[in-house]
């Protein structure tokens, strides 16, 4: 179990765009579970959107099917993060990273 109360999660899109979120402890684990076990993004009920996902230490690598602009991917991830209780605009060093390809 994560010992800190809150988590800062940085979402990065192909190293070109990023946004920080703050969630309650366990938010990153929820996102990992969703992408790796359920193969779905929270709040987005589209089969096959997540074509692959793996976690390495504190980084979740998510591969989405199809080609999209960075902005569109950022918007998709925004829905996913908010639906598991994370809010955008967090300041400070990230505890976890989500790399989206």
């Amino acid at each position: 179990m994560n010992e800190t109360a809150f988590e800062i999660i940085k979402v990065r899109i192909r190293h070109k765009a990023s946004r920080n979120y703050q969630g309650f402890g366990g938010t990153f684990a929820s996102l990992v579970d969703s992408c790796v076990r359920k193969r779905a993004l929270p709040g987005i009920y589209q089969d096959g959107l997540v074509s692959g996902a793996e976690v390495k230490e504190n980084t979740l690598l998510v591969m989405l099917s199809g080609r999209r602009a960075e902005r569109a991917v950022l918007d998709i991830m925004d829905i996913a993060l908010r639906n598991i209780g994370a809010f955008p605009g967090a300041e400070g060093r990230a505890d976890f990273f989500v790399e989206v390809k």
Binding site: M1, F24, G26, S30, L41, P42, G43, Y45, D78, N83
Partner: protein, 484 residues
Amino acid sequence: MALKTAQEYIESVKALTPRVYLGGKRVENMLENPVTLSVIRATAKIYELAEDPKHKEVMVATSHLTGEPINRNLNAARSTHDLDMRQEMALLTSQTVGTCNYRCVGCDAINGLAASTWEMDRDLGTDYNKRFNTYLKWAQSQDLACSGAVTDPKGDRKKRPSQQDDLDMHLHVVDKRSDGIVVRGAKVSQSGAIGAHETIVLPGGALRPGEEDFAIAFAMPNGSPGVTYICQYNAYTAERLSTDNVWELGNPLYGQRETSTIVFDDVFIPWERVFLCGETKYCGRLVARFAKTHRMNCGGACKVGFADLIIGGCMLAMEYSGLDKIPHIMEKVVDMVRLSETSHACAIAAALRGREEPVGSGVFLPDDLFGNAAKLNIAHGFWEIMKNAGDIGGGGVVTMPRESDLNNPEIGDWVKKYFKSAAPAEKRLRVMKFLQHWTAGLHGPGTWHGAGAPQTQRVAIGALTDFEVKKKMAKTLMGIKDDE
């Protein structure tokens, strides 16, 4: 941020996409569907009340965790004053929206958990209370709307949870991992869960050794993967979906009480959000603590607020029909006041006779007997109030045409002509529809079963009452000696 504005709440739920079904169809946007919108509107109004300085004492509390002002819906009571303001909040919110304060069950779940997690940590050396307080601090800092979920589908009621042919009849743990648990099952009759940010889940009742998998309490974001909401559907749902003018409905903006069945299809809950897992011995006490708090609020205050609205509607119906000076009708109104205020008196007594439970926890819970009496009293009284409202409103309450008929070029003039009385037809139809909403709507069974069906209060009152003491009093007065 400690207190969200109504607009900030609406903006926050705009970004959420919980998996909601209503009338067999997926609701893609809760602010565009008129039924789910009524839940969002009602919840927004609860936020708005906390912004109003004149309601600050009732709607805003001070967090015992941070010292910051917080919405009272996220407060764990620390005094009898807190309890009293909690029940006053239930009254005020009902009077204002005429439907559920959809944060109410979550608030009472918070209070039950505040007491029971403290008790488990004391007895078992767990860290549930620390986790819970950390979570509560987070919820308070974000001013989250938390709904509460308690009631399992239960399946075959003759059988215990572990004896069911289908174990999913009670929400249960299907996997325990290093990072959290995975749960499966459902919770039914969940008021307003679709418009909340989070749901706080409690076990459905007392459990025994061997039923550890069903002993779970946790909080989850409402968009959690694997969670689906299947909304209630009834004639009022269909009416709201079909009308192009909400003002012809009985509760135009906030609607009937909207609930859903929440399905948990292998939902992951991180340990940080788990507040009880396997401790069967503590489930009954946790649910009882939730129940006594909820019975004070639901029975002794929320439904009293509804009664106030019904009584107001009856007074207007009398005035609009030219019957406002008729003594035997006023007697019925006075009876309605008696029934509702008796319940409110029980809620006030439950709050003011509240006490710290468990001792040392700092958590205050209402007096159990008065809380149960409040709910049992209103469960019966509400039918009586509805009966009187139907009586006073007259048959037109259920035989009236729709208000929009007033604008029909072919029949509008007749509707205006034959439905006018001491007031124009517009006003009469509006108040008849209002009374229809209350007397022929969902509120009778809702009040009967909400916070537990009356039999559960009878059981509680029976257990809480010392009948031997009462027998002894009677024997003393009559001069009956024990050896006779």
